[in-house]
Amino acid sequence: DQQVKQNSPSLSVQEGRISILNCDYTNSMFDYFLWYKKYPAEGPTFLISISSIKDKNEDGRFTVFLNKSAKHLSLHIVPSQPGDSAVYFCAAVGGFKTIFGAGTRLFVKA
């Protein structure tokens, strides 16, 4: 049973445009949500997070939106840059556990 779902395996965006990565979850008890970025053959690195009591968190070009009623969150990257090309994982935290989605591969074309 997948508690965190990223239904888009890949996304292609032109440089300078907005990238929107989506994530859905099923467990309403999650209290934190995070996004990680991963390059091939490396471990993921933390990008941005949001508490379940907030609906938006912004850090530079990255903004995460949370819609609790829909159990949905999204990551916006604007403007997108070629260096943003990577796999992005959505993750949800409940207790000691962090549950990850399957990831979305973002391609930013120059």
Binding site: Q6, D31, Y32, L34, Y36, A41, E42, G43, P44, T45, F46, S49, S51, F89, A91, V93, G95, F96, K97, T98, I99, F100, G101, A102, G103
Partner: protein
Amino acid sequence: SQTIHQWPATLVQPVGSPLSLECTVEGTSNPNLYWYRQAAGRGLQLLFYSVGIGQISSEVPQNLSASRPQDRQFILSSKKLLLSDSGFYLCAWSKIRTTGEKLFFGSGTQLSVL
């Protein structure tokens, strides 16, 4: 600063052979420790986590086991590897959980079971 070391980077093992992957964390004490696996084309699956020495929680029943003999050492083991054990194994740590602490990952071990 804190660092996490994970080795080896790549490993090719025959079916039925044993496995031992080691992970150590430096620069912090009492970390929460985690083992994740990423199978080809799939997401990160939580295998084990530990909140203290000798305390191991298993998330997925399988032929893998984990141990935490010291505060900052986490070991993933198997007595007999299966083909399905192939994947990218990641060790991670976090500060003692308070409010959604982020994970810090090692560089991973690519395991191929042939």
